[in-house]
Symmetry: D4
Subunit: 248 residues, 8 copies
């Protein structure tokens, strides 16, 4: 029920065409979002210039193509995360503007490339094996209108690599730190910057890394108080939060 | 070695009193922070108008009094978290301006009450038992110069309590959501707002709540992509990050 | 030993053909179920109009065909859960009436389609990835004689999707809620309805979802007191309990 | 805003005292529960004849007295769970009708003792140490208007104790099974009855019982398909669900 | 150094050919097992009529053939556990007497089929999916000279199936109970017999069965005091202990 | 219903006083144990000369006294495990023959001290801190009619302490090995003896011992195939099984 | 049997007083350590100048006094770890030379203060709350003859504190790093030094620190390859290994 | 900025070409390692005669070839761990001197075979399945200039195998012990030697071995105080630490 429909209902009530009981009855089942009462999530992204996002894992190429074609009728950027080259090839046939970001395992259809973020988002990783997660974050942050800077392979066991390029850290408005194994990098970065730090544990490692649990716990227990944490390998989520902060 | 000492060293070098080799040698062991090269953490808080903070757990009243007295020589706000009424009484004797926030279990010595945060930080809790953690966050956010709004006891099993006061959610620049047991509130709040949401799991619950682990996992797996997470019961950390964001 | 056999035994005793000691001896080893004394599990389903059920996982197509053919000699519905298209094809050759429910990964041989449930069972899912588990529940509930209603993809991060269709929730006599990741949906649904809610955690998710453990814990800690929980991905079990309730 | 207030608003609109825009505006912030649109949780219990419930753990005697006095202004039954004798004494002074159920650690103020449940709820326990949880369930089920039958100390290591009194099992409309340690009883009971079985793991045990986790896992993996599970030691929740079922 | 060598050494000492210091020196590094001082594990099995055993998992067919050929030079039974049909085929070529037990995934070369166990070992399983583990136990127990009786698919959710054939339980000198999922069977069996019960949890199940952990915990917490437990899926180990007991 | 009652029923049936339907009806609810059909657990211990056992943990002194007085009417040994000196004092007043075994935290009332075990049960511990659990086992084994030998403080980090007294190991018919921390002793003992080894993990240790979980896992993974395991700190259970074996 | 006894035995054999069979028989049960064949652990410490050590946790003051008095008859240093002031007072009465190290919770009786370690052992801690564990390590290392240097409160969230005093790190022959919470310090230290680093996780922290498990996992996953790990809070063990290395 | 650049800067300052402020400014952002101020990790290995190491897991053959070719320009040994035969073949084509160590899954390019370790490193394993991890350690230790001795398949369930060859243990300067399943070997070895013992848990085992967690916990809880632990399957790390110790 749209606002127009509500107005019509009220008019009918005023004219006596419907009773107050009927109005009450209609209002009882009032679809929240149609009135604009609700902050509707699948609309929010559109209104805010956010991309439409498809979580690609577990979907067939056909399903992804179908969803992306439907999304493509609007003038928004589109992002498919956790997808495959095979899926991309099928999307590409349907939508030639689609591009594949291999390391990030993401499909990007970018129609609007305005920069809306106010500062830089810095992406730091502990090792090269953390790159897929970091690149998922980078692709996401860029399509959401941010300038992204990177500082890859600066793990704490060679601390000079990080200290050496500290200026990059200091120049960032938000920092995303991606690390597996001991997950120690966010604590060090958190101590070096005054910006909010979003820590992304990765499933990189073996043995007692427990597919990212070790890194996750390290980050939750960070002695730097400006660190918050997202799920293991969740580069996408970290970038969304960083984008929200960077727009403030 | 202070900047003055470095200047003196350079002057001596210029005058020929020390050789370039000696200068190099001195610089090799140059204490980072004395030059101001480093972003020194215990100074950062001061420069940024942050309070000096004492983590009270596991410290004797005497130790806390000693630390707070030392801090009190400067014109900064002071916050003691996870402390006790007993400790407060001894601090009060030494520093009459100290106040005790009972629910938050915090001692506050506020000298500067300027508001530096640009918007409101909203604190939402799922239940009344989450109050101590929420109040730790509230006390921290306030002493860091923020306007704090609260929305207590709005757990998802009575969703109308939350929806009813949605405007508070929409008015916030950052939202901190504190919840134990099923930890489901941040997912719902995350879907209702466009602001960053910082989720704080609490150790409230019994049985399979595992002292907050259940709520922690729920929050890390939130299907709302604007949610980040801090350690169980870490109201202080959530408020620090919210303050950093609210200053942007 | 059937009731008829027992009657014969008693007659023989009365006529003196067997002694009281012999009767005692026979009764000592009396097969419980043959007397009908016991509520025999593989018979119970038949007497109650329940389908015969084969848990298909880990069985070869040949084994499933063999079991189903044996079951097919009686006039009961037959359900094979957790099976494959390949197995279905072989069953189909043996029993042409067999149908395959692809999403549910179930084979159905329906001979009796009377509705015995008194009200509606509502199946709600948080996301589309929860569909296979939900459909297993739907297929099970339908073959057990229930009218099933569905409310798919109404996860709590877009709460309006759920609230919008609340009438469906209120119309149900039992609600099955299927959710992975944060597993928060049953708590919200539990707060909206007065009916019993059966929560099914799914292994949908990644990282700290730990193959459904996060959702499971969330549900066990639900702050809604009308929620009970079954094993991860156990759509079948949820539907059995819902059917039992719906017949009351 | 009550229904009366909405009617007045509509009348004012009809009379032209308020514009349609004003009506829309008012409706936008319409408190859900005041219209009766929502199935409001703290009211639901009252409308359904459910007791008002206070979760006593972690509340001071004074807090409990305050809450109970407020509740006592209405004609509903009141239940305080997980409380202490000390708290009861203070409640008793304020409300002489209050009674203490020691094993269940519950305070009961019963004003309405009509039986609304249609059949019997059977409470079975594996051992005597499970009694406090079972009694919490019994007290809850009784104050919610059910006839409760009990079968205590019938653990599976002495299976005849259970089989011997099978008639009690068969007579129940819902069965609640409470067990710690190996948690095996619900599986056996589930196989003996056709009624829904609600399993409550308890924290009874030592060593690898892990405070109820062993029993919880056993119950979630029950090979009887009519078993659902609630949180460890959650006798209250099991009784609420059993009551909902028993009213159908 | 054999006993003969020690005797020779002592003779040499007596004759003065070696000094007491030399004897001491030799004794210092005396190989334990050569003296027969030690109960040498790889010999123990032989002396006790036990088979030679090869743990096949992770060994190539070539490695297994090599080991078995070496073992085959002696007149002992040989058992290869956790092996494959492919490996068997290669062993068969080298040793035509080898037989393959498919369900047990074991190769058997039986040269000595005397029965040395004094009573019967009963093998009970909860479900048919537990058969591979049970059969590994059966094959092991038989090759170690025991009479083995079986009682398969007698899970506790259909307790009559077990009670019905209780005589088999009572006739056993040792009982091995194999169960996955809820792992409840050993508790029931333990209560029905006075014999020692060896419980084998299996990795059968899904979701919260955690690959056998649930069944393992159930068994460790068994309220029957005559139950001991071995590792998940360790049918071989259970049979070895049962054999040792059955020889007493 | 006793056998006498059944005989009377049959006589009445023969005489025509009751119909065959009535007989069937009566038999339907036939109490298993009254016929002697069942192997009744609380009677089994008595018939086998086992002591009556009270698990003392969580019982008040009054409760223990009550139970023990009831048990004391028969001529069986009585054992109270996991009890306290305070409880003992009250038991002693009621039953002067009661004795307290302080390290084992057990009360013993021994009326029958015949030795029924055929060989020796050896109790070995890794450290002195494991003594309470070992002594619980020793007291239990002795009251069940066994000769018990001990080998305390022979942990594997000083392997000579064990090897030195190997004869004791070889002389035992069953070995109980009690160990906390690394729990490595059963593996070494298992390799040295041909007897069955019952391993008891203890909660002795700190940090990553996780209250006995480390020792439990070590024992479950023992590379000696003659080792079975009981619950953490379960000295009583180990002794029961050892006694059963020692009677064979 | 001592070496002297063996010599006497050999002499008797030579003289014909005992037969070779008797010698063999005696040797069969030869106590390992009496011959000096074994590297006996409680003697090793003495021969190597190590202190005698008592693990004080769980021992009564009387027990500790008894053990220490026995040890005090020899000229070795004595160390009691994890003890209390109360225990110390009783030890002090018996042995006036005893000293109490309060932070380390250790009693020290030092008779030999020679330095036998070749270089310095550096002890670094992340926070002040790690001091008790670090001091246990310091006391242990000193009584074992090492020069100990300390670098306390140099956690990675303020990395300059560590870098600033890097020379201390470079001067050490072995480094012990003690850290709770995120446990990140050993990775950073490991990258800065070429010496072996022994990491000690502490139980310092709250929530997801899980009593030291988070720090333990971080250290096991350290990306610095010169880091090994000991049990949570095991300052003593770390110091023993560091001492062994420092003597090389 | 190189030392030459710093000298030039100082000269310019002396000549007045740059101000002291400018010098300070330049020094502020001074790249640590360019001055040689830092102990740069990727250089450390070279200066110390350590090999260049590539962690091969997760890298494509092309990536490994590229990295190794770059490394090969210098005169250092090169080690690729956790790699495959396929990768080796490609490396071999580029660098004919490369050799493959199959069991260790390592590629070795050895240019410098001087022995720099002062004593022997002994590698002991519990079983043959631990060989890949042990060989990774052996290859690493050898390329780092150590003499390596081995003692394979000496698990504690056949303790004589270890005791028999104790001299090898006593001859070692450092001992690496590799074990899966119960992980008990390091405790026994630790008690037999005075050298530091580095324990490597392996993922060998099944069921409750939890992919090496059981062995890891055993080792962390070792009652031998000279044992430290590395990550599961981390043969490389153990060998690095052993090499560092062996050079002292």
């Amino acid at each position: 029920m749209t606002e127009d429909q509500i107005r019509a209902l009220l008019d009918n009530f005023k004219s006596g065409a419907v009773s107050s009981e009927e109005v009450l009855q209609r209002l009882r089942s009032l679809p929240f979002e149609d009135l604009g009462f609700a902050n509707i999530d699948h609309h929010r992204s559109l209104r805010q210039g956010f991309p439409e996002v498809v979580f690609g894992a577990g979907k067939t190429p056909e399903q992804v193509v179908g969803i992306v074609e439907a999304m493509n009728r609007h003038e928004h950027n589109i992002l498919v995360t956790r997808t495959t080259l095979e899926t991309f090839k099928q999307v590409k046939q349907a939508i030639p503007a689609a591009e594949y970001r291999e390391t990030a395992r993401a499909i990007v259809i970018q129609k609007d490339d305005r920069v809306t973020g106010k500062g830089r988002i810095l992406l730091a990783t502990a090792g090269t094996a953390d790159l897929p997660v970091a690149e998922e974050a980078a692709v996401t942050a860029r399509i959401m209108g941010n300038t992204v800077d990177t500082l890859y392979d600066v793990g704490v066991a060679g601390i000079h690599r990080l200290l050496d390029r500290r200026q990059k850290l200091l120049d960032a408005r938000v920092v995303i730190v991606v690390a597996g194994m001991d997950g120690a990098l966010p604590s060090v970065v958190g101590g070096l910057v005054a910006a909010p730090v979003i820590a992304v544990p990765t499933s990189v490692g073996y043995g007692a890394s427990f597919h990212g649990v070790s890194a996750l716990l390290t980050m939750l227990n960070s002695c730097a108080s400006n660190v918050t944490v997202v799920n293991i390998d969740n580069g996408y989520g970290a970038a969304v939060v960083a984008s929200l902060i960077n727009r403030l």
